[in-house]
Every structure is written in C-alpha cells, then in structure tokens.
C-alpha cells in the first residue's frame, strides 16, 4: 500500500517494516531473564576512595582505579551509560555486591602463592564490614534522580553468594597473622526468595530503552569522610592491598523482537 498524505512517518516505517523487516518488531517480542552488571575497581591509596561510578566504563577498557582491562566478567554492557543494542530492558531488582578477586587474580606480590591466605581473612572481613556498611547509591535516568538510597550494600544486597561456611583458623604456627586462632568471613546477603527476598525489588519495573542514558554511583558524601583504604589487608609479611571489585547488577527482563 503506497503511503498517503494522512500517514505519519511512523506509519510508513511500520508498513515497510511489516513487509520487509528482518525482525518482527511490531508483532512478536520475546522476553528473556537477563541481568546487566558492572563492577568498578576499589582504588588503592592511603586516603581511601570517596566515589564509585558504575556503567560508565564498558568491557575492553581499563578500569580507572586498578587499571585492569574490563572483560565480560566485570561488565556486560557494550556502551557506556546505556543498554544499547536492539533490546529494551525492564529492571525489576537492584543488587549490589563486593567481589574479592580470586586468589590467582590478586595483584599483590606474593598473594597468589601464600599458602595461608585463607587463614588471613580476619583483617579483610573487618575491612568489608566497614566498607559495606556505608555509602549512598544514586541512580539517575535521563537527568532524573530515580533512586537515592543509603547503605546500598545493606539495603540492596546481592541476594547471591556462598552458603554456610566456617573460616579456618590456626592456633599455632601462622597464628600470629590471625589473632590467636580467630578468623572471620563476610559476604553479601544471599537471601533471595523472588519478590519477598532481601534483594531490592523495584515495585514498578524500570523500563530502559536502548539509548536511554543513565548513571549510577555509590558515594560517601559526608564531609571529609571516605571508604576505608584497601591497603595492608593481607599481612603475609608484605602488607598487600586487596584487588577488590564493587558491583551493581540490574536484574530483570530483556525484550527483543523475535528473530
């Protein structure tokens, strides 16, 4: 049907699409369970960081804090600050988490070879307890403050993690490093029971179009305050900073045209 004067450009495009489109944008959409995540490195330094900016450095670029080239393991966002691609996304949950890099990926000299690494978690657990108890998450979508919530690692917990565990401790030998046989472990809350779990459910899903721009950050806005420095966490005689990542995950549904 050739276009007529009364038709809008949208209608013309829809007609062309319906006849020749390589995907059925107007007829059938598919919905997938999906998550978008982004991690940022925990900056080293005696002062401690004051802000973490998420979803701004895509995979393939270096994390500005620790210099590690980000891969799919740190983010699956292709474009900075937007979903991109041909999909739209409905965010239903916000999850925050801290990930201590696997031992083999710790950048500190000698850490990966430390046979008593597991027994040295007390200092790290103390650090996490402080770091994860503070901060303010701000989510801005198209210049509009969509969410401001304090203490995000507590109020928007991961909802995933390890199960039961008892950290090891030794009373002799390497015990000097672990406070007379004491040890500790701190992880994100793993409780997620769907809509009634600990994770932060958005009562109404947040709809993000492919090029909807958004920003997300976790800051410590108190005057003169900062997150704790990640130095001297592994006291294997060489006081190493931890290679630590903080992460945010948008959990929800990806919608795309059926192909």
């Amino acid at each position: 049907m050739p276009p007529v004067l009364s038709q809008s450009s949208d209608q013309v495009l829809a007609s062309i699409q319906a006849q020749y489109g390589t995907a059925q944008f107007n007829d059938t959409w598919e919905c997938q369970d999906w998550q978008y995540w982004d991690m940022v490195g925990y900056a080293s330094g005696a002062a401690g960081p004051t802000a973490f900016t998420f979803f701004s450095v895509p995979a393939g670029q270096a994390d500005p804090a620790n210099g590690v080239i980000k891969t799919q393991e740190q983010t699956n966002l292709i474009n900075p600050n937007q979903i991109g691609g041909n999909e739209v996304f409905m965010a239903t949950k916000l999850r925050t988490f801290a990930l201590n890099s696997a031992k083999a990926r710790q950048l500190g000299t000698g850490v990966s070879a430390d046979a008593s690494f597991s027994a040295r978690q007390l200092v790290f657990a103390r650090f996490l307890q402080v770091a994860l108890s503070q901060g303010v998450l701000t989510w801005t979508i198209m210049q509009k403050k969509w969410q401001i919530l304090d203490r995000p690692f507590i109020t928007m917990p991961a909802g995933f993690g390890l199960g039961e565990l008892t950290p090891p401790a030794v009373g002799t030998g390497a015990g000097a490093a672990i406070n007379n046989g004491a040890n500790a472990y701190i992880g994100d809350s793993p409780y997620d029971l769907g809509s009634v779990g600990d994770t932060f459910s958005l009562a109404q899903p947040v709809f993000l179009a492919p090029n909807t721009s958004f920003e997300m950050s976790i800051t410590q806005p108190l005057a003169g305050a900062s997150f704790p420095p990640n130095q001297n966490l592994y006291a294997a005689g060489v006081n190493q900073p931890a290679t630590l990542w903080l992460g945010v995950m948008l959990d929800g549904f990806k919608l795309r045209p059926r192909q």
Partner: protein
C-alpha cells in the same frame, strides 16, 4: 484418514504422502508421535576442572554414550536429541572424586589442603555462564556458582573444635595461652529457592543445538587445594539444566 493396507486399492485424489505416513503411523507405529508425555528431567554434566584452570568450561560437549552416566545423561552432545525440552532452571555444583586408593579430603586450614580455599578464593569467584541456542544468547549470568547455586539440599555438618587454653592471674585479664586449629568448611548456597529459576522458561525443540559454557575472560583460576586434587582425585564442576522433557508416548 485411516486406510486398510489389505483392502485399499486406490487413494483419493489429493492424498498426500504425509497423510499416508500419518495413517500408517497411527495404525502400526511403535511410538505415538501425536501424543507427548512430559516429565521432569534434569539434564546434568560433570566436568573435570583442569588443575591450571581454563578460559572456557564447556558443558554438554559429550553424550551419555561417549562418556558415562556419572558424567552426563544427555543422549546427544550439544543437544537433547529427539525430545523437546522446556528449560526452567539452571544450577551449578561441585564435588571432589577421590579414588579408593587416594587420600581422604582434608578440612584443614592450609590453602593447599582445604577445598575451602577453592570455594572462597577460587573458581566460584569468577566466570560468566552463557547458554546459547543457535546463535542467540538466552542466558548470561555472572558468577554462576553463586548466582545459580545448587538448590537441592545440603549435607548437615557439625564441626567440633578444640578448646582454648587460658591463664589468669590476679588483677590481670584472661590471656590466651594456647588454641586449637579451627577446621575450615565452606559450601555453595543450597536452598531450593536459590537455584536460578527462570521466570521465562526456554523451549528447545528436538535436534536444536545449544552450548552451555562458563567463560573466564579475566584470567585462569587454577585449583588452589592441590593436595586435595592430586593422587587421582578430581574436582568436578556440575551444570544442571532442569526442566521438563517431552517425549512421544511409546
């Protein structure tokens, strides 16, 4: 349109070969393809984790016939064979196989002897799981051993620890004079609600191919507890695709 082979001489005009085959199938078929029965059927794959780690852990790359039921129960590598499958949950697990002649797994504090170190600082702390059907990624999940843990119950465990020794002198606080080692224990989250239940199940038709793999693009994660996984011991990681299998009524 049923017809009797012993009586039918001619077929009506327009009869297609598909109709003839359908009629024969309904009368003589060993399987009733028009009637499908569904049953819950978790498909699993146990993969030996390489000691040095791997950039890709590829699950379901071999079939039951090519390996054994301890490894997998899929009848076709990279697919479900001649059945339809509705994938409703995905979860991951691990276990250590110790041969009868091997040493017992230890639960001590040294990283080289305790599997604890691998769970807390090893392979569970990285990776991205991808489930692809054809060319389309249907699932992409960060940290699969934590985000999609085994939701099938857990072993009860009780660790008995040694007591501390104290000394006390007048007007001085307690002093710890000796202490025992504390055994290490760690496990994945195992409550049923925590496995990765898909809100949108994925239907996979017979003979459709899929890939299920964990990628570690940020670097290999070797096995830490080498004393546990030497002497013939193997650390297996398990991927389970849980859902409903639909097969013709036989």
């Amino acid at each position: 349109m049923p017809f009797d082979l012993s009586k039918t001489q001619t077929l009506p005009a327009g009869t297609t070969s598909a109709q003839v085959l359908s009629s024969l199938q309904s009368q003589f078929g060993a399987v009733r393809y028009q009637d499908q029965q569904g049953l819950r059927y978790p498909y699993y794959y146990n993969l030996a984790y390489p000691a040095a780690g791997s950039s890709v852990l590829q699950f379901f790359g071999t079939s039951l016939g090519q390996s054994s039921a301890q490894i997998t129960n899929v009848e076709q590598a990279g697919g479900f064979g001649n059945v339809s499958f509705l994938l409703s949950a995905v979860y991951f697990d691990f276990w250590v196989y110790n041969p009868a002649t091997g040493g017992q797994p230890q639960s001590y504090t040294d990283d080289t002897t305790a599997i604890y170190s691998d769970i807390v600082h090893g392979f569970t702390q990285g990776g991205v799981f991808e489930f692809t059907v054809g060319n389309l990624k249907w699932i992409q999940t960060l940290l699969p051993f934590m985000f999609a843990p085994p939701g099938n119950g857990r072993l009860r465990h009780a660790l008995s620890q040694g007591a501390f020794a104290f000394s006390q002198a007048a007007l001085t606080p307690f002093a710890v004079t000796g202490s025992q080692n504390v055994l290490a224990y760690a496990d994945l989250e195992r409550r049923a609600c925590r496995k990765m239940n898909l809100v949108n199940p994925i239907f996979i038709a017979p003979q459709q191919n899929f890939t299920a793999q964990i990628n570690y693009p940020s670097g290999l994660i070797p096995i830490i507890a080498t004393a546990v996984v030497t002497g013939g011991a193997v650390l297996y990681v398990r991927c389970c695709l849980d859902g409903y299998k639909f097969t013709p009524v036989g």
